[in-house]
């Protein structure tokens, strides 16, 4: 396989979206679990565990979207206009998630906090769910016309297969968020969340296995892919092993390792998705000849080259200071006068 600019950008967009899934994944997971802790102090600890970083994490989505627009404008245009209502709901959910974090602890009143608690939780659950549904449709393939425009309907996007991946994604993020919380907290709250982790892992693995079996039964294209690239199955197996390693790490008190395992698990999931998707950006089902690939959806080689220079300058700097910022905010979450 030649490493041309299109392939590089397929990988780079993938890396940005994987960064988003790993980083905002735990924010959304924390939001999903938010209503399950009862005490106000615990809820504040949840918020402040992600407090300094959620905003930067969300930027991975914005930049991933921007990179998709710049590198594969046809795919950006087709997916965003085709999944119109779903994306509008996603935007609405992300807005409520964001402002709820900011607003909740500004006032002490019970009703005020409860209102934003609900907004935070619902916003997070719905965001995770819709991201999963969108992924499900991309895996399954959506109907495209000869002009590469989406030719399906909104209700068509809400097929059981994609809805199930939506649910799986909610569970996945909740699991990832719970592991993050175990790492960032101690005392009573850590005990509570620790109890949830094995159950969440169990539910996730069950969902994941079912999802993959259903995929191999119903999505003909993926059967083909599995035949051509059997090593993808090895990636999936490795993924499951890594996720199953998490309870062992937690049991030994190595919460940071547990979190790293969870991140690696997410990265492998996205890798599985990317490797089985390649070279398609949007697969057309039916009429595969209308599919958008990394070639017919791409910008000109010149733009891809310019963008590569921009990414080459920008990404290392971003990674360096992001790492510094995570380092500054390492350690257990404590509530102070600046906290949410």
């Amino acid at each position: 396989m030649m490493m041309d600019l299109n392939v590089i950008w397929f990988v780079l967009v993938g890396v940005l979206l994987t960064g988003y899934a790993i980083l905002d994944g735990f924010d959304l997971g924390v939001g999903t679990l938010h209503l399950f802790v009862r005490k106000d102090e615990h809820r504040r600890l949840l918020l402040n565990s992600i407090g300094p970083v959620w905003d930067g994490n969300e930027v991975w989505l914005v930049t991933g979207g921007g990179a998709l627009f710049a590198a594969f404008p046809e795919a950006y245009a087709t997916v965003f206009s085709g999944f119109y209502l779903a994306f509008m709901l996603l935007l609405c959910s992300l807005i409520f998630r964001a402002v709820a974090i900011e607003f909740r602890s500004k006032e002490p009143w019970g009703w005020w906090r409860k209102m934003w608690d609900i907004a935070f939780c619902l916003g997070s659950v719905l965001s995770s769910f819709l991201i999963g549904v969108a992924m499900g449709n991309i895996v399954r393939g959506v109907p495209l016309g000869p002009d590469y425009e989406f030719a399906g309907t909104f209700l068509g996007l809400l097929n059981p297969y994609s809805l199930f991946l939506g649910v799986t994604t909610v569970v996945l993020f909740a699991m990832h968020g719970a592991i993050y919380l175990v790492m960032k907290n101690d005392g009573e709250l850590q005990m509570i969340v620790r109890g949830w982790v094995p159950r969440l892992i169990g539910i996730f693995i069950t969902c994941y296995v079912i999802f993959n079996m259903v995929t191999l039964v119903y999505v003909d294209r993926m059967v083909q892919v599995a035949r051509e690239r059997p090593w993808i199955l090895a990636v999936m197996l490795l993924d499951i092993l890594i996720v199953m390693n998490i309870p062992r790490e937690i049991h030994k008190g190595r919460t940071f390792n547990a979190f790293l395992s969870s991140c690696a698990g997410m990265a492998l999931l996205m890798a599985t998705f990317g490797l089985s998707q390649f070279p398609y950006m949007v697969f057309s089902e039916p009429n595969p000849e209308n599919s958008l690939t990394i070639y017919n959806a791409a910008s000109s080689p010149k733009t891809l080259g310019i963008m590569l220079i921009i990414a080459g300058i920008g990404v290392p700097i971003v990674l360096a200071y992001t790492a510094c910022i995570y380092w500054i905010f390492r350690g257990k979450t404590r509530l102070t006068s600046h906290s949410y």
């Binding site: 300094p52 914005v62 930049t63 733009t303 500054i328």
Partner: protein, 510 residues
């Protein structure tokens, strides 16, 4: 069919205008307050005066509030190009997309990453690293303005590109001056030739300066307004006085420069977008000694503008020559431009066709004039405040004249907001019917698969959500103002590493 697409076009435009106008309340505040925070924290590091430390902390809390809503409403903008303007996205993705991606990589990460240290790092890092973080947040906010204004300016004055189509899967370059027709949509696209010519297109520098100064004014006058309010209420006197000095200082600086920048921007519009300029000034007839209408109303039926006019002033402002003619709408766009698109049309038909290339003249005119009027009022206000300041009566709320001025300053926060919004409305309505100037029409840029009903549904949703957010924002802002700065943050309660700054300053003074 035509009626349906019209509905979708109008709704999509309303939706974009509404979501971007709401969004644009916040980024200018973040940009302006960012500069204010850098000044305040810099002053603290330099003088060790704890007052500046208290100020930096208080204004950081206000900053955090505006930033959160700015981020939340900003993602909508990035998605909307794809959701509502898919044909546009396909047409310009090669160019416009790279500016957006650069904004993400160079601006948003910087801003949001270091924001964590700015907001939550008071006890985690030393004072110098904290100051550095504040600078980075402010820099990120400015970079974001750079890239988004580059993208928008390219839509106003496209440069550094060629048009391209696909024949048998291979790209074919179209000759310069190719007229994009309906049949081209979905296949023809703009492709970058020269990245720097695209970035530094003819209007980028003027418009960027104008936008950034407008943002500094927005941030500065928010500080001015709240400080003046405290002075009037005789609350937090020292804090309010010092904040007012910083805010008013930046506000004066930006307001004066904004007059020059406004003049340069308008001269750019004369050159690059004559139709827009004629609409902004309500100028129908090409005339030497073209008049400037100070206050008036264009009558689009009679094609005449009524009002108070200063003869020759428009010619003078446009060309620094009161005798030189300024082109009016009846001659714009040129016959040559129209002939290229309608080779068969008779002279009478061209007169009618020409009007379809005009923006809504009364709206463009009025928004532009609101911006100018508010700008001039702001200039008069900063001059008045400057006189009070020099005479030493600005910080004397016991004097009746000062009280009047302070009350005006309390409401001055609205000035830059109104002018910023009106300016953008004039700029964006004034370039219609084009989405990419002289290249792609707004009506051709919509998403083909999105129906009017879908847009309406999402518009209703955003209206509810944004009204709620705005109400909560105003409520929390008022509460924060009522609460005022914390007095618990005195020097003996600072973290150990921060106390050095105060100690050094004391030693230096002794």
């Amino acid at each position: 069919m035509k009626a349906v697409t019209m509905d979708a076009e109008i709704l999509a435009r309303i939706q974009f205008a509404f979501t971007v106008a709401f969004h644009y309340i916040y980024p200018p505040l973040s940009i302006g307050l960012g500069v204010i925070l850098v000044i305040m924290e810099g002053l603290w590091l330099k003088t060790g005066n704890v007052l500046y430390h208290n100020m930096a902390r208080f204004w950081t809390r206000i900053f955090a509030l505006t930033f959160a809503i700015g981020v939340a409403s900003g993602i909508v903008m990035e998605f909307e190009f794809g959701t509502n303007w898919a044909t546009y996205s396909r047409f310009v993705g090669d160019i416009f997309g790279s500016a957006l991606a650069a904004e993400g990589i160079f601006a948003f990460f910087l801003e949001s990453g270091f924001l964590a240290v700015l907001l939550f790092g008071w006890n985690k890092v030393g004072p110098r690293l904290h100051f550095f973080s504040t600078c980075m947040v402010a820099a990120g906010a400015h970079f974001s303005a750079v890239w988004i204004v580059v993208a928008n300016s390219w839509m106003q004055t496209p440069a550094g590109y060629h048009l391209e189509t696909v024949v048998d899967g291979k790209p074919v370059v179209l000759p310069p001056g190719h007229v994009v027709t309906e049949a081209d949509l979905g296949t023809v696209r703009a492709v970058v030739d020269d990245f720097w010519a695209m970035v530094l297109n003819p209007s980028t520098v003027d418009r960027l300066t104008h936008v950034i100064l407008g943002a500094w004014m927005a941030g500065a006058f928010l500080v001015v307004s709240i400080s003046a309010f405290y002075l009037l209420r005789r609350r937090h006197y020292d804090f309010a006085k010092a904040s007012l000095k910083v805010g008013l200082g930046l506000g004066m600086f930006a307001t004066v420069l904004q007059m020059i920048s406004g003049d340069l921007s308008a001269k750019g519009v004369v050159k690059n977008q004559p139709v827009k300029l004629a609409a902004m000034e309500g100028l129908y007839e090409t005339e030497a000694r073209a008049p400037l209408t100070l206050i008036g109303w264009p009558d689009s039926k009679a094609e005449k503008t009524h009002g108070i006019k200063v003869p020759g002033l428009l010619s003078f402002l446009a060309w620094t020559d009161p005798e030189k003619p300024v082109q009016g709408l009846r001659q714009l766009p040129s016959d040559e431009f129209l002939r290229k698109r309608y080779p068969e049309a008779s002279a009478e038909q061209l007169t009618e066709i020409r009007k379809s290339y005009w923006p809504n003249v009364p709206a463009t005119f009025q928004f532009f004039h609101i911006m100018i009027t508010v700008g001039v009022l702001m200039l008069l206000l900063v001059i008045a405040a400057g006189i009070f300041w020099i005479r030493g009566t600005l910080f004397r709320p016991d004097l009746p004249a000062t009280r009047v001025l302070l009350w005006v300053l309390v409401f001055s926060v609205l000035g830059p907001q109104i002018a910023n919004q009106a300016g953008w409305f004039a700029a964006e309505i004034g370039r219609q019917p084009w989405i990419v100037y002289d290249l792609l029409k707004t009506g051709d840029a919509l998403s083909k698969v999105v129906t009017a009903n879908q847009i309406l549904a999402s518009l209703i949703m955003f209206t509810f959500v944004y009204l709620l957010l705005f109400a909560v924002f105003i409520f929390l802002l008022t509460r924060k103002i009522q609460h005022g700065p914390d007095h618990g943050e005195e020097s003996d309660q600072l973290p150990e590493s921060w106390k050095d700054v105060v100690r050094h300053a004391r030693e230096a003074r002794a």
